[in-house]
Symmetry: D2
Subunit: 510 residues, 4 copies
């Protein structure tokens, strides 16, 4: 065992030791609570596969800090290949849990911080990068699982943070001390926090000079004093007879309250209150985390499409309709979406550029285009599977009925479809489809597929904010005879590196 690569047991033992600050309804629960096991089962996959010879190459990396072998979820992308491997790892693990692998938030937050802390030091002469590297070393050595808490409760959506009636509706620094800061506020819609080691907090939007107190980023153990986590778990009905991986997974969403929480200096990575020059980096960090996270979606969402396509193909076979034209058309649509979204992330990785910090940043517009297609299609994908499965996914009697004395045999008799397929397989298939399509968790996955990492609306905004439309218009100006010549047009030239350079120039002008 290398120092930086831990096991699921190591992780689970850490969870056991944490302070109880989880609230489920009015109950205070432990991190080992039965209702969180589904989420923990997912995180387990990220540890187990790093020790699995088939997945090891994908799921581990070599730390640029000390050349130690680490879990890829703790790694800062040092190359194009790192981005490609991260995308492929995400896809492969999502196949195994039938959806979101949940641990990507940590790696995405760390990568965003790696760029921003370096940038601030370069431009402002701060010493965040060193601080971040020390935190990262600790993170990698312990193979930590982190949540990234970005979305504030936001109050009135048409007002900026400092304009809200209640000043706490965005997380803010309420006190600065020599040894750290005190923060107050709430972050909502945060996946996996109930069973994460760490919470990394980043801003949710651009901050102006009136919003200095809100320009803050930091990391905390998720059981830090004053942190109160309201849990919204989702899990499948317990199976008694037909055990299946899909029935074991679950989700824990968090509504995190920071009730005047102290953060020591060494864990603060952005502080606009004490140094307003840092405030502009809040928006940059918000955007960059979103960017890395959307790139992760180009790994997980193709997997979700493939999981759905897989189920669609299986039930079509079991129903004996797989040769029908409309069935092929529908399955090929799911496959096509998977291919296109994955290709968007892959090509974004190939176009990635090394930022001054050394971290590789994938192409921004293409990543957003990929994530957007995924978001636009998610409900339609569920529709396709429901279409091919038929109404039984929503009407299937409970599992025990098929094993009950008086009715079990009859129930199974009438489950027969394709006569070459044993009724138990058909039962397993529909039981799994029920988990996939007709359950609390199914709905959570739909909403996450739409909103996770930013809804299609957000990607449209990002794309239009970044795309160089003037340059695009030069094509029509040339063709229409409004301008005499056309320089070779290549949208790619608006690279992440240029984006950083522009940002520096902008800030120097401040």
């Amino acid at each position: 065992m290398t120092m930086g690569l831990k096991t699921f047991d190591d992780y689970y033992n850490r969870l056991k030791k944490m302070e109880p600050n989880l609230y489920l309804g009015s109950e205070k629960i432990k991190r080992t609570d039965e209702r969180l096991q589904g989420g923990i089962r997912i995180i387990r996959e990220t540890f187990d596969r790093a020790h699995d010879v088939e997945y090891e190459a994908l799921c581990t990396a070599t730390s640029h800090l000390d050349d130690q072998k680490i879990n890829r979820f703790c790694h800062i992308h040092q190359s194009m290949d790192d981005l490609l491997s991260k995308q492929q790892m995400t896809r492969a693990l999502c196949h195994r849990v039938g959806g979101c692998i949940q641990r990507c938030m940590g790696i995405d937050a760390l990568n965003a911080l790696s760029v921003i802390t370096y940038e601030m030091d370069e431009v402002l002469g701060t010493e965040y990068d060193k601080r971040f590297r020390e935190y990262l070393k600790y993170f990698q050595e312990n193979d930590l699982a982190a949540s990234c808490a970005q979305t504030d409760s936001k109050g009135d959506r048409l007002k900026r943070p400092h304009q809200q009636e209640d000043p706490d509706l965005y997380v803010r620094i309420v006190e600065s001390r020599s040894d750290g800061i005190v923060v107050r506020g709430a972050k909502i819609n945060i996946t996996n926090t109930p069973y994460a080691d760490e919470i990394i907090v980043v801003p949710t939007r651009l901050m102006t000079q009136q919003d200095n107190d809100y320009a803050v980023a930091f990391a905390l153990p998720s059981d830090a004093e004053g942190v109160k986590i309201l849990v919204r778990p989702a899990f499948q009905h317990k199976r008694k007879y037909l055990k299946a991986p899909i029935a074991n997974i679950g989700d824990g969403e968090a509504f995190i309250i920071f009730d005047d929480v102290f953060v020591p200096q060494e864990r603060v990575f952005l502080n606009g209150k004490d140094d307003p020059r840092q405030t502009p980096y809040a928006g940059f960090l918000a955007l960059l985390f979103a960017h890395f996270h959307r790139h992760s979606y180009t790994g997980c969402k193709p997997a979700v499409s493939e999981v759905l396509a897989s189920a669609a193909a299986l039930v079509a076979e079991y129903n004996g309709i797989e040769k029908e034209g409309h069935v092929k058309e529908k399955i090929s649509h799911l496959i096509g979406v998977a291919e296109l979204v994955f290709a968007a992330g892959q090509a974004s990785a190939y176009r990635a550029e090394k930022s001054p910090s050394g971290t590789f940043i994938p192409d921004e517009i293409l990543t957003n285009a990929g994530r957007r297609l995924a978001g636009e299609e998610i409900y339609n994908e569920y529709k396709v599977v429901a279409d091919l499965a038929g109404g039984l996914v929503a009407t299937l009697p409970f599992e025990e009925a098929f094993y009950a004395e008086e009715i079990g045999e009859l129930a199974n008799k009438y489950l027969k479809r394709n006569p070459r397929i044993h009724p138990e397989k058909i039962h397993r298939c529909y039981r799994g489809l029920e988990n996939m399509l007709v359950s609390d968790l199914a709905c959570v996955m739909q909403v996450a597929g739409l909103h996770g990492g930013g809804s299609p609306q957000m990607e449209t905004i990002t794309m239009m904010g970044r795309y160089d439309l003037d340059s695009l218009k030069s094509i029509a100006k040339y063709l229409f005879g409004i301008e005499g010549s056309l320089a070779m047009y290549d949208r790619k030239t608006v690279t992440p590196r240029k984006m950083l350079e522009r940002f520096r120039i902008l800030l120097r002008g401040h």
Copy 2:
């Protein structure tokens, strides 16, 4: 109280007295089981509104049998106005329960039977119409709620009933007696049976002369001997503090097994085994029930779209984004779908024709076009609401958390959005949205919105089977100079009456 109009209590007392033949998992449960109360609450609406002065005109009708005032759900459409009222009643009641009103299956089955029994008597000289009228009289006098059981378990979908390895995979007559028939098989995906008085069984497809045993229709009390109902209930989390209609509704789906059930002659309405001349009417009845049922969907599905649009508009207001262009665009899309689907059903009613039996039949192709649009859009509609609501619908902490001592006040503090809206209202709104979008029941509604009454694929098949394409081609032939003249083209001329006439001619030719 008129004789034919009963109250919810009358109905509920009947349920209490029924034989226990419901199975929930391995449990045998009563019809008054807590987990069925959500479905019963919906049926209640159909009784209560018939006695509600505001709804009475819509929800009652005058029986053509005896001029008694009856619940419209027991009525045979005697006019265009009846069809229009049925559609409008369906819509109005669905608004009140936030979705499917469930009792339409009975009225749709009765109307289909009213046409077919008359037709058979006319052509074959049988005496079904009298038998049916007697059953109808009993039905109307007692204000019964019925399920219509159509979908067989169907086995291998590429084989006809008689070709299946197991001959029981479609419901069939296994024995003919002088006093009745014995039936065996199963009907699946049947809504509301666990709390319906009656089950009306109709065929699921066209039957050939090899399938005579499967050409069968009948009605039974839902607790008849040998009937075994496997229940799949769906219901919302119980609320403790924030009571709301949406939290009280539910659904009970049935997997009905006919374990050699005796049906007395007076309740048999189609019997191809004893009289193979009746077999062709199986397909006709299957089609006609589907047709009336799809017309009912042009009432309920617009209501579902409006319920979703209503929630979308409300949460947009609460989030303070209702003036945004994309928000208006999205809400107007929901509204537009509701309008178009309702208009399809309304215009179908205006084009309805009186069949020889006296029953009015709405336009077939247009009804199908309307139902299809509804089915195609259902998942997209959920997407729109989820889009405008944001991720919180899937991550909202449980209700009790907002009332818990240590965290309740903080939780409410961070729920504030539009400052003019009290946090409790926001809580109620998101709590309701959670029921609507992120729950077992939400998924059942999605699947029902897609498959109920036949999936879009089925409507396409019906439309293309009925549409007179040769006549349509005459337009292009004229315009392209292939034919010299063009008779006035009006697709409407393929009326239901013509459909019946053609069918008669076809059968006479048999």
Copy 3:
């Protein structure tokens, strides 16, 4: 021949006598110019069918002014049936010309004026209604064909008329005289003006009190002094061998310049310059013309879909692929759109209400929902036909090649497809498809299908402007427990009549 019903020859003789004020490029052309014959051929249909026994009932009406039999295109809707007949006539005639029948603009403008002139008289005590009736009498007696000129050139779209740098960018009154007014400006995108008898001018938008000069409506002979019509014709390649109706049709679009044109008082129907109390009626008239015109689209657009579906079905037969699943799916989609859009207009007519003027106004939101669907689908419909036709529609050698000595026989040899179909029929079919899909005129039809009567964006705005969202929200408020009860919700209650009443109240408050 009744007095109010003229023939095509009457109409064409009038065209011959008109002053030459048409400009095609730099040429001044006559109204009988060859390049306008395609458009004239379309108008011909509206005269010929009124004298055709099969179409007469649909294409004529009885004037409410004098009980004369008139062409329906000159009629003010006096009943629901009038609206239904107008819609059906539009559809039937569009089938015969393969698209837009062009003369609807006149009837739609007249109906809008009939309402507004009456309203103004009621509220303001003006005497427009009498003036309008006299004009209408003249119009009906002569069976005139009119253009309605609504769209101004509009300049900077973000500025109101009076804010434009050049004050002439919306048509305005530049001088008031005792005997009439002088107008200046331009109206663009106006179909059929080059061969219309009359131009009826209405405002294009809401006018404020600063825009009084722009609040103007009037009618003029289309060759009135100072009117200059820039023509943009579209027509098909001339056929030499394979004559076909589709090859004979065409279009003439106008860019109409009012170069200080005098309009006598008896032809002025709105004048905000001289009476600013009339200014608010500008927006009302703009909206009402759009409304009647969109209702006409629920007649023509279904016909366009059916024409396209007809061609699709024919070429699918000729190509031998009509039984393929995807082909049926695609054709059924075209049919479905036709059905839904027509149903929207039909149900709108059934819901129509008599305005105080006596004119029937169809349901506004539903009409817009129908028109919008049509606009959204138009390009997709062309795609479907192109898809089923294959690339040959765009690559078909010119007609003469198939008759040329050296190559004609060979060319025909290789045109064979379905062997039961004679190559000449295949040639005719593809020749017609070329006209339909690959020609200037095809593109004009696409653009007209999108923008005519207002683009989908405009219908969305209208729908959201008119829909009573507060009332809609009451459904969710009830279901979510925010409000205790729910009044029966029926969107229809926002009727045109109520709309007029509200408008009156609004104006009185002015």
Copy 4:
């Protein structure tokens, strides 16, 4: 000037010398005919840019035959970079001509032949590769422009070639001689042949052992004896005042008749008549040309989307609406499609594998997914531009009107929109939009965008034919507990190389 790189003049001089075998209608025309200049102008771009320092790196390559510098359109892809450069070149040149660059057919056919000839030699011991290399050398040295003629006239689409009533409906070998073969038949829908040097003929589908005579591939000068080319040109209206690149382009489609044409042995590359063992390669060649050609579409179609987006952005600016939400949404959609389709081709190139012949073959399923999205979107893209441009694109008076004495000044006056934009620019913009959206050529581009390289239907078939669904199903089987473990799933493992290997095994088994 290197030997293998020619100029436009060289090319045009060759055209001048060719035998006249072009038929336009009943005329026999020269290759320098005015009506073909638009197409020739496009081909010119491929020569000029190879000599343009800005484009040279993209538009030239080093021949693997003799290390000469050649035009990239004559090159066999020797690496991933070659595929990436080809894709990028295609995009860059399409920007300059506003659409299809037309010369890609040659390179795609050559690359397909390079693989198949090598494969046949390996497996069958033929000597095609040497023959092909000699032809390629000649092709490269002369910098030839080629058409690839694939689509047969096909007759009854449900019958195979040998089943047709007329045996000539697919191109076939009618005679074998020692020095060559004689072919008969027709190829339709072939772009650019009227001004191409060479025609490369490949099969259009899989051939069975009954279709040996139809398993044929060869190359000919396009004026070879017996070749008769029926031309269908498309071009823009001539401009007199406002010259613009878009007005100079055009298209020439060909219906090529092979009227018993002799092909010398050195130009025959597949001959199933003389050697039935070659017949299976017909389908392989058909597929492989389609594959390379679809990969070219991932270069040209993004360019088309960008050209349309560019025009949309420009006209939005000129209309002053570019900040509107719906405008941004629509433009971002065009951009997003461009990005995704390009990414599909780029990632396909990155995943490319070297075939045994040395030629690199891009990923098949992803290439098809990209091409399909492009085809599905093309009509919608035109809709978006038409939507933002408004009706004027279809109603704009002819150019001369704006310069005519009496009306020119007035016409220009009313063209003003955004006051910061000179009316001439607005005129140029709408004139260009007219070319782009409302012209014969626009329709040809729509149809080509749908069908070129195979319609979406074909890509669906290819995708479903190639995708390893059994492997995909393993995901659901694992998740549903039907199978105990899941091997790491990666769709990419079905590489082109594996495809070739499978094909070899298959053929050996023959």
